[in-house]
């Protein structure tokens, strides 16, 4: 195991982030605050509680998931896409590192970034509403697993993309809609029965539901399903990454 290389890639990525840390932190904090103003204060004032939780507090886990998913995907996809774009990837491919080590470095850094941001969102949110975390262990577990899983997804997108448009496409067209329609801002019970059924096919629903359960013990689906879903995503992402490296897809052909 080439730990030195993992450390180098991780430190390189974190350094890159540090150079632009202000914009990396400020933009999610501002957008989260906006969500609170719009959904929490303006619209939320007309919704008393959702399943016994004040609306402002209800949307916090969803907002964290939104940031976590978006930031994991964008940090990891950009991290691996950029060396491909500039050509510096030659060095990583020619170094005595295994694919596992490359992934560990890039995905580890991306997950770290999104966890830091998620935590900042949590702190920001606590300024607006009263938060209660019923199951801290599960809350941290969901946070970690989601960050890692979606950083892996970002890594896959970064490998697959051969231009900047594709890099933007998946987060914009898939991740954001899935999060919005996955019950970030509402309980699935509030939907008409037909749309409730459709929502059950949205994988992100299971993440948000599980994450919310770790806060307030209310959930749209059973926690068992949520854990199974995150486990399934993780295995799927790992499988695809394994295949990419086995075949050299978009890297070594």
């Amino acid at each position: 195991m080439n730990f030195q290389a993992v450390k180098s890639i991780y430190a390189f990525e974190m350094n890159r982030w540090r150079r632009t840390v202000l914009q990396s932190i400020v933009s999610p904090v501002i957008s989260t605050s906006l969500y609170f103003v719009v959904f929490g204060a303006a619209i939320g004032s007309r919704i008393e509680t959702v399943e016994g939780v004040s609306y402002g507090a209800f949307i916090v886990p969803g907002l964290m998931m939104l940031t976590l998913l978006q930031q994991s995907v964008s940090a990891a996809s950009f991290g691996i896409y950029f060396p491909k774009f500039t050509g510096t990837i030659y060095e990583i491919l020619s170094a005595p590192v295994s694919f596992f080590e490359i992934v560990l470095g890039y995905v580890g850094a991306a997950a770290t970034k999104s966890i830091i941001l998620g935590t900042i969102i949590l702190i920001t949110a606590s300024l607006f509403v009263d938060l209660r975390i019923a199951h801290p262990f599960w809350m941290v577990a969901f946070l970690l697993l989601t960050a890692v899983t979606f950083s892996l997804l970002g890594f896959i997108i970064g490998i697959w993309a051969d231009n900047f448009e594709k890099l933007q496409l998946v987060p914009l067209l898939i991740i954001t809609p899935l999060v919005f329609l996955g019950g970030s801002f509402y309980s699935v019970d509030m939907l008409p029965p037909f749309w409730q059924g459709v929502t059950m096919f949205n994988p992100v629903l299971y993440l948000i539901s599980g994450f919310r359960w770790s806060f307030y013990e209310v959930s749209d689906v059973s926690i068992v399903w949520s854990v199974a879903a995150i486990g399934m995503f993780l295995s799927l992402a790992l499988g695809i990454v394994w295949w990419i490296f086995k075949t050299g897809y978009q890297l070594k052909s």
Binding site: A5, N15, T86, Y90, I92, S94, P96
Partner: protein, 308 residues
């Protein structure tokens, strides 16, 4: 002695169907400077990329100091430093950081003193804290060399090291390469400048169309390249060589209208003056003349013809 790199029947077909390498066999000796010469698109970069692990081969095998590049890639790659053709750098990193990063990637513990020594050897020490985007092209090239040397490799690949580099910097680069060789590093460089191979290499391999056409010691190849031809266009056609001219390497061409004299440019005497005198005394009048040196291009052409 074992070759430090052994390549056998190496082939590469890209997804597009393009066959970049068609069964290359080559052995690189320890401590030599080997120049891989060939026109653009000949397969030079593909060959290097496969050995360094950047491109997967389609067939064949490569071992580096006895380590297979696929089965035992860690050991093989640890020995190799690569300076790519393109000036690809992380624009926002500092010189020192980017070179240290390379060392880390190769699994070596940080060693600022060694990095500083490499930077000093490459006259980069003044720029150690500069961002890469602030450097000139020549300086960036040096940074790429520093990155390749950061993990103390035993074998150094230089892909077109002096492409787009001005003359004085090119001389500096050659000096750097010579010093490296003296320290025991095996060097493989690709180039399409014959002068570069002439200046640096112990052996030269010529590659074209994905085939290694020839591998020779430089001295032998230069002898071939030293051959020149004098073409004499005659006023009246000649049916046979007169006695005075029998001692020259002459051939009659073009229905007797042209005489072709082959001589060695590197030889002590080319005998051109005496040939012209003998032509005059034989009463042969010359309308026009020109000389032609067999170039690398000619060698390519004749080699490719032989292959066909």
């Amino acid at each position: 002695m074992h070759p430090v790199i052994a390549i056998s029947s190496l082939s590469k077909r890209y997804d597009s169907g393009f066959e970049a390498l068609k069964g290359v066999d080559l052995e690189i000796d320890r401590g030599e400077i080997f120049a891989l010469l060939g026109p653009n698109g000949a397969g030079k970069t593909t060959l290097i990329s496969i050995i360094c692990g950047i491109v997967n081969p389609t067939g064949g095998s490569v071992s580096v100091d006895g380590h297979d590049i696929l089965a035992d890639y860690r050991a093989a790659r640890s020995l190799i430093g690569l300076v790519p053709q393109e000036l690809t750098t992380d624009q926002f990193e500092s010189v020192f950081d980017t070179v240290s990063f390379s060392r880390g990637l190769f699994g070596k513990k940080p060693d600022p003193a060694y990095i500083e020594k490499v930077l000093t050897d490459l006259s980069l020490i003044d720029k150690r804290d500069n961002k890469l985007r602030e450097l000139s092209g020549g300086m960036k090239r040096r940074v790429l060399i520093a990155k390749a040397l950061s993990h103390e490799p035993k074998i150094l690949f230089l892909d077109e090291p002096t492409a787009g580099v001005d003359v004085s910097l090119r001389k500096d680069m050659w000096e750097v390469i010579r010093k490296l060789r003296e320290s025991g590093v095996t060097i493989i460089l690709t180039t399409h400048y014959i002068e570069e191979a002439e200046e640096m290499a112990d052996r030269i391999g010529i590659i074209s169309g994905g085939r290694l056409l020839l591998v020779e010691r430089k001295a032998d190849l230069m002898r071939k390249l030293g051959i020149k031809q004098l073409r004499l266009e005659l006023r009246e056609p000649l049916s046979a060589l007169p006695a005075e001219l029998q001692g020259y390497d002459l051939t009659i061409e073009d229905d007797g209208k042209t005489l072709l004299y082959t001589f060695d440019r590197e030889g002590e005497r080319t005998r051109i003056t005496s040939l012209l005198a003998d032509l005059q005394s034989a009463g042969i009048r010359v309308r026009d003349l020109d000389t032609k040196q067999s170039t690398l291009e000619d060698i390519f052409v004749s080699l490719v013809k032989e292959q066909a």
